[in-house]
């Protein structure tokens, strides 16, 4: 069955995309993902603030001992100018990956200020990224920052990056807006070519024995896929830009579910980390088996079947789903 999919204007061989995660930190990892069968690879995020912190630390290490002693005015060779680029390591990986794998490589960026978004965005596309995914995680230290400021910041970043680069740009957004749909559509208006739903933020836990914060990152569980699916279903027929579902994709059935609600592509890290990059083929086999079992003529025939229709009253739709859910819950667990 032909699984060819269009995402951000790129033609993918299938709708399963490896999302930003540890597997894409090395060329071998990216190769394994591509060999495993995914339609595209989103690279792990480039965190500009972290890069700068590291650069500042390295400058300190170099300068602290320079010009202190007559026999040794410094201790390291001076790299060539292009090798001194802040993101040289990441950019080289993008370059090599783009050259060596036959699926689109999408770079993921998390920057600190608009200037950095633009600069790094341009460098990443110069390095050969087929598209950019903006990982806009805005964690204000100031808890009084109004929501409107957070939204404006998203829109500014999208507009600035779009103006600076020629490749498509997707935004991986947060689910924690008071009106996710409205923000999503404004991001689209600002120029985004696609939305990735959603970003999962680090939520520290507490270790009650050591009395310390526990910042361990847990892989997502299938249940977490319900939230993005809800919003993809709601947005699918409100916009023509690409929609990517991410979080909670553990097997082929999760892929199917997300396609049914209208996702153009379905992203997974957890399943591929747990079971290895080759598991992508299994997930795709499950997708094909499903399509055949249900006798769908093509992928397109099933995509978006369960999306909220454009003409429907979205509130009523959601409300009715909610009521139905409550009824099912009562049936299962008794009166709540």
């Amino acid at each position: 069955m032909d699984l060819t999919t269009t995402y951000l204007g790129l033609t993918l061989r299938n709708p399963l995309v490896a999302s930003a995660g540890p597997l894409s930190q090395t060329l071998d990892g990216i190769r394994a993902l591509a060999d495993g069968g995914v339609g595209a690879v989103v690279m792990f995020s480039l965190f500009s603030e972290q890069l700068r912190r590291e650069a500042a630390r390295d400058i300190d290490l170099l300068e602290t001992h320079a010009f202190s002693f007559a026999e040794a005015l410094d201790y390291f060779p001076e790299p060539a100018a292009d090798e001194r680029r802040l993101a040289h390591e990441y950019l080289t990986l993008v370059q090599r990956a783009a050259r060596e794998v036959d699926v689109p490589v999408i770079a993921s960026l998390n920057a600190a200020d608009v200037g950095s978004w633009v600069t790094f965005g341009r460098e990443l596309t110069d390095a050969g990224a087929a598209a950019l995914e903006l990982n806009i995680s805005f964690v204000p230290g100031d808890v009084t920052t109004p929501g409107s400021r957070v939204i404006e910041r998203h829109l500014d970043i999208v507009a600035a990056v779009k103006a600076a680069v020629a490749v498509p740009v997707a935004v991986k957004m947060s689910p924690y807006f008071s009106s996710v749909g409205s923000v999503a559509l404004r991001i689209v208006q600002a120029g985004a070519d696609g939305l990735v739903l959603f970003n999962r933020f680090l939520q520290p836990d507490v270790d009650i024995e050591t009395l310390e914060a526990d910042s361990t990152w847990a892989l997502s569980t299938p249940d977490e896929g319900r939230l993005p699916r809800t919003w993809i279903a709601a947005l699918r027929n409100q916009t023509t830009v690409s929609l990517a579902a991410t979080t909670g994709v553990a097997d082929g059935s999760d892929v199917v579910k997300n396609l049914l609600v209208g996702a153009d592509v379905v992203m997974s890290t957890s399943a591929l980390l747990r079971r290895g990059p080759a598991y992508a083929a299994t997930m795709l086999d499950e997708l094909v088996a499903y399509l055949e079992r249900k006798e769908f003529a093509s992928l397109e025939a099933m995509r978006g079947l369960l999306a909220v229709p454009a003409e429907a009253d979205g509130d009523a739709w959601q409300r009715s789903s909610y009521v139905a859910a409550m009824q099912r819950a009562k049936a299962t667990y008794g009166s709540l």
Binding site: R52, A56, S68, Y75, F76, P77, A80, L86, S116
Partner: protein, 1187 residues
């Protein structure tokens, strides 16, 4: 193109562009040339022929010269860069290269030779030692000349076939920044004859037209063959002169083989070579303006000696001639240039070519970068005016032994009145030198402005003092001597002015900038009184800023450079203030742009806040307060330390007369303890209540500032109230007290003790230990505590358990307060060595970091105990340390045998039982050694009351009846590279020596060049693309002998294993090799985490801990012991914390990834091999055939 670069870069720039191969070995002060070549190669810069030159780092200068010789015979245009001992090691090949008439140019930053002591500084001793090799010698006197004559030398060598040494003064020229004009590639191409290049290539060895070169010759023809080259040498001066003519046509800059400056009718003339020629010429102009008929002959070509040009340059009117040599040949009739000039003149007069013979005198000047100033030049001309000038003299020192030194007017000033002169006093880590280099570039970049910078560093690696000498002006600056009469003085740390007269070289009306934590109105009264008086006398304008506070608030940490540079521009009036600030910011942007806006922003913030915090200090009419200069050493110090060492410490060592110094380089031990440097704002502070007295902190302290003693409570009588004590935490001594004393004035605040401390006191908050770093500004209480602590007796060695770390803390370190880097990874091992064996140890120390922090004057850390005993230390060379140490062993063995024979001879007088007890005494354990020491002391006392030849003989060697511990110490550059063959030979000798390799895996002392100890994937100089071969497994090489005790240790991973290895190695009767992992600033780590990195090195399998003990093999046990557990963290986790590995990841991630994979595989393979060895039976290892 106008540039501001130093002499090394000027020479290297031409050498690189005109050659295809640079085979090098790092040596100060030439290393920069090779490093630049390597950098340019790694950046794929092509030479003028379109080839990217190959740069190859060899294992020694001997190796570099061998590779050079081979490459030349192979037809490649090849060069090398070297100095001093390095040039000496090239001599055998230089004879060959010259004998075969092979075109090449060696670029030499001329430097002193090690004689009574090593010196890294500049003079002509090295180049004068190769004047007989057949190489031509061409001398440059300035940065511009370094550049231009490098090209002239290349032109001439290709035409003449005579190889050249192109040299310039080490440091003075090699490290001086000056404005110069760069040759373009097109100009170089126009200069160097391509047909000559092809001729050179044609002479290469080739099987297509084979011949043999390098035959062995017999008495019948060797002599004649040696004479065949004469025409080539005869033609060379003409070829060099012709090359200079072509050079002038192409560039407009004219040089002559021999330059004359002065009165055409001069009566008094000086002949000189090198940078000193500039000083003499400048002074000649000054003297001529006063009507004196003087002149100077500057020699550029020294070999072949251009007799005609020299004779032509010396005016016929000259009646008095002084020839200056920057070298010393003890016992010679005169120094070489003097003899050459006398010979030329004598012959000319004898043959009638010249009418009269002037009176010629010879003088030495400027050894080891000794200043050579216009005043000294004036002194020489004045001497020539005397009725009978001294036939031989020295200038620049006070020679009260031979009476050779000339008097001179020290304050003669001949500089251009519009030249601005500035001096800056800084500390190494504060960025002062970097900022000043930046300032020079900012000012020198302006149209019509010339700039010069020269930087002086002291000999300590931590808390080192730097002095920057800057000049700017509208005319080219040819003043190769330190700044005097400065119009601006910056003192970037208050602690400096407490010890050093920072206004010594200030002119009246100078501007003084102080970095002071005090409020502006409190500054003046807190200055030392002599300084106050000087400010008043010279009418100095004083400004102050708390640069540390400003830097901290801008997020710059201790880097006060940007703040103080801004202040300099604001108050020095060298250029309009706003334009200057703009330029500073532009420079910041340029330097840090690639590192992101944060770094730029914090530097710019420092600039902006600096001006708001800069204040003028009101100067009263008379001094106020009662602050005195700090005494450099206490009054209780020995006379030599008070009179000689102290003078060096205050920066006045130049004033010491010859008679003050030892005749043979022998200096007293243990002088660091008199120099209380107080270099750190934070120091270790002991928490007596929380401490478990484990001794870990004292064990790892690199500076020996943590001392432990236990003592009866009664010893506390009279203790200062602040003296800390706790009940001793040990069985069997219930009444005893314990103190861990921090030597506060010596502590460098490195924090290794905190890292090593295993205690986290309950409820004390995150990160606190039983020893912590805290800011302690006022240290008088600690001083009193230390003084009291020293009144408590050191614990008796016989009462201490040497076998564990806890016990070792009570042993007195005899290596203390060295000037090594704060947190040094090497010195804890040396300290341990002295604690365990110091009282009977002789140490041979290879040149390198350990010989510098161990033996660089003014003060040295190898100390003695209260009985006057301690390690006897010596440094021979870099390359011969193992052999040198073996010599010490052989001498000790001979004297032990002699002592035993003589003791046997004296049975009659001493009694059989007495003699046998000494001769048969076991001397393996400390208790046995201490009994033997008592016996030997008793014997010496008895001998003192006896007479006779045999008695006198025995008395002279009786100390050898106590087993002597011979240690051979050095770094990996020595052990793995330059000293490798010697080390191997000594290991194979079977003799009882103990070899300690302080392995930093890189040449640390000369600035981080790769050695064969550098691990795979690490970035170092000459391995900028990451080291591509794996680290040599020196342990396995040594183990292969079967008769060598071998240990690989890392005290940060296992202190107990380290201790065990040291003790086993020392007690083993045969060669022992300890490879000690030493974290280092050249790894690019946070030095406070040095021990953690040692742990990671072991845990990742990079540095498995092993011991190979042949004694076990003799006992039928497996001698190979694998002391560390299986690798339990990935290699990457160890690499992640070190810039040397991270750097490759950011510059060439692909290579980094590949090398890491290889590295991880190597770890696994080696571990598997070690495990197999650890599981073998004894019979599967070679038995020691000596047994």
């Amino acid at each position: 193109m106008k540039s501001i670069i130093d002499g090394n870069e000027a020479a290297a720039s031409v050498a690189y562009r005109l050659n295809e191969l640079c085979s090098i070995y790092p040596i100060t002060p030439s290393s920069t040339m090779a490093e630049l070549a390597d950098e340019w190669t790694s950046q794929q810069r092509a030479n003028v022929y379109g080839t990217v030159p190959t740069v190859v780092e060899m294992q020694s200068e001997g190796g570099a010269a061998g590779a050079l010789h081979g490459a030349l015979q192979g037809g490649a245009l090849s060069t090398t860069f070297t100095a001093s001992q390095g040039l000496l090691l090239m001599i055998p090949n230089m004879y060959k290269i010259a004998g075969e008439l092979t075109s090449t140019v060696l670029h030499v930053a001329a430097r002193s030779l090690a004689a009574q002591g090593l010196s890294i500084f500049g003079d002509h001793q090295d180049v004068m030692a190769v004047r007989q090799t057949g190489f031509a010698l061409l001398a440059s006197a300035s940065v511009q000349e370094c550049h231009d004559l490098a090209a002239v030398a290349q032109m001439a060598t290709l035409r003449s076939r005579v190889p050249f040494v192109h040299f310039f003064d080490g440091f003075r020229t090699s490290h001086e920044l000056n404005t110069m004009t760069m040759l373009s590639d097109d100009e170089l191409r126009a200069l160097v004859p391509e047909d000559a290049v092809r001729d050179h290539r044609r002479r290469a060895l080739s099987p297509e037209h084979p011949y043999i070169r390098g035959t062995a010759q017999n008495p019948d023809t060797y002599f004649q063959s040696r004479e065949t080259v004469n025409p080539f040498y005869a033609a060379t001066p003409g070829i060099v002169a012709a090359a200079m003519d072509v050079f002038a046509e192409v560039t407009g800059r004219r040089y002559r083989l021999v330059e004359y400056v002065g009165d055409p009718q001069a009566e008094r003339v000086v002949v000189v070579m090198g940078s000193g020629a500039q000083t003499v010429a400048q002074t000649v102009e000054h003297l001529r303006a006063g009507g004196e008929r003087v002149g100077v002959v500057q020699l550029r070509l020294y070999r072949p000696f251009p007799v005609d040009e020299v004779l032509a340059a010396i005016p016929e009117t000259c009646t008095r001639l002084a020839v200056l040599d920057r070298t010393k040949e003890p016992g010679a009739g005169g120094e070489p240039l003097f003899l050459d000039v006398v010979c030329a003149l004598g012959e000319a007069v004898g043959t009638g070519r010249r009418a009269r013979m002037p009176l010629v005198v010879g003088g030495r000047y400027g050894l080891s970068s000794k200043e050579f100033t216009p005043g000294m030049v004036a002194g020489i001309y004045a001497e020539l005016d005397q009725p009978t000038p001294r036939p031989r003299f020295t200038v620049g020192i006070t020679d009260d032994v031979s009476g050779l030194s000339l008097p001179y007017p020290a304050d003669l000033d001949v500089e251009h009145p519009e030249t601005t002169r500035a001096i800056f006093f800084g500390l190494g880590a504060d960025g002062t030198v970097g900022a000043n280099k930046n300032t020079i570039k900012i000012l020198g970049a302006r149209e019509g402005t010339y700039a010069q910078g020269y930087f002086v560093y002291d000999s300590k690696k931590s808390g080192s003092r730097t002095v920057s000498h800057l000049r700017f002006g509208p005319t080219p600056i040819a003043a190769p001597y330190l700044v005097s009469k400065a119009g601006f003085v910056g003192c970037h740390h208050w602690s400096i002015l407490e010890r050093v007269d920072v206004l010594r070289d200030a002119r009246p009306g100078a501007v003084l900038l102080l970095n002071s934590p005090l409020p502006p109105d409190a500054v003046f009264s807190r200055l030392p009184l002599p300084m106050q008086q000087r400010i008043i006398d010279l009418d100095v304008e004083v400004w102050t800023i708390d640069a540390d506070a400003v830097a901290r608030s801008a997020g710059m940490g201790r880097r006060v450079n940007t703040v103080l540079q801004t202040c300099f521009f604001a108050i020095s009036r060298v250029m309009p203030r706003d334009a200057a600030i703009e330029a500073v910011k532009k420079a910041i942007g340029k330097t840090y742009a690639l590192k992101g806006p944060d770094v730029v922003a914090r530097n710019e913030a420092a600039v902006d806040t600096a001006l708001a915090n800069l204040h003028r200090v009101a100067v009263p009419a008379a001094p106020v307060g009662e602050v005195a200069m700090l005494a450099p050493v206490p009054e209780t110090a020995p006379q030599f330390v008070r009179e000689v060492t102290a003078t060096m410490l205050t920066g006045e060592g130049d004033t010491l007369p010859v008679s003050a110094l030892p005749v043979d380089g022998t200096y007293p031990s243990g002088t660091t303890k008199y120099e209380k440097r107080n270099i750190s704002d934070v120091i270790a502070v002991w928490d007596a209540d929380a401490c478990i007295q484990c001794g870990s902190c004292a064990f790892v302290c690199p500076h020996a500032v943590l001392r432990a003693k236990y003592y009866p409570e009664s010893a506390l009588d009279g203790a200062p109230a602040s003296f800390q004590t706790a009940p001793l935490n040990a069985a069997g001594l219930p009444e005893a007290q314990y103190t861990l004393q921090v030597y506060a004035e010596d502590c460098t605040g490195c924090g290794l003790c905190v890292e090593a401390c295993p205690v986290r006191p309950l409820g004390s908050g995150a990160g606190r230990k039983a020893i912590n770093l805290e800011p302690v500004a006022e240290r008088s209480a600690q001083r009193a505590n230390v003084a009291f602590f020293e009144t408590i007796p050191v614990n008796r060695r016989s009462r201490v358990d040497f076998a564990n770390v806890r016990g070792v803390q009570y042993l007195e370190p005899l290596f203390e307060f060295s000037g090594a880097c704060s947190g040094c990874g090497e010195t804890p091992y040396l300290k341990l060595l002295t604690q365990l064996f110091g009282g009977r140890a002789t140490v041979a120390n290879a040149t390198g970091c350990s010989s510098i922090y161990g033996g660089n004057l003014p003060t040295t850390p190898w100390a003695r105990n209260k009985y006057g005993r301690g390690p006897a230390w010596s440094n021979s060379l870099f390359e011969d340390n193992a052999e040198f140490g073996l010599g010490l062993r052989l001498a000790a063995d001979l004297h032990t045998q002699l002592a035993r024979r003589r003791l046997d001879d004296l049975r009659g007088e001493l009694g059989d039982e007495y003699v046998d007890e000494i001769l048969d005494a076991p001397q393996r354990y400390e208790s046995e050694l201490s009994r033997q020491r008592a016996r030997v002391d008793d014997l010496k006392a008895r001998l003192d009351g006896m007479a006779g030849q045999q008695v006198a003989d025995l008395r002279s060697v009786a100390d050898h009846l106590l087993r002597r511990s011979v240690w051979i110490v050095g770094g990996d550059g020595w052990a793995y590279d330059i000293g490798s063959s010697g080390l191997d030979h000594v290991l194979a000798s079977g003799r009882n020596v103990n070899i300690l390799v302080l392995d930093t895996e890189v040449y640390s002392n000369t600035g981080g060049q790769a050695s064969k100890a550098t691990p795979l994937g690490a970035v170092a100089k000459f391995a900028s693309g990451g080291k591509l071969t794996k680290k040599k497994d020196l342990a396995m090489q040594a183990i292969a002998y079967g008769s060598v005790y071998v240990a690989r240790v890392a005290m940060g991973a296992d202190k107990q294993q380290t201790l065990k290895a040291f003790r086993e190695a020392e007690s083993y009767d045969g060669p022992s090799l300890i490879l000690a992992y030493s974290h280092c600033i050249a790894h690019g780590i946070d030095m406070r985490k040095g021990l953690d990195q040692q742990y990671a090195a072991v845990a990742s399998g990079h540095w498995p801990l092993i011991r190979y003990n042949p004694v076990l093999r003799d006992m039928d046990q497996n001698p190979f012991l694998l002391d560390s557990p299986r690798p339990r963290i990935p290699l990457k986790a160890y690499h992640d914390k070190e810039l040397r590995f991270r750097m490759l990841r950011s510059t060439d991630p692909e290579a980094a990834e590949r090398l890491l994979v290889h590295g991880q595989e190597q770890v696994a393979l080696r571990w598997a091999e070690y495990e197999r060895m650890a599981e073998r039976s004894a019979s599967e290892f070679d038995a020691d055939a000596r047994k």
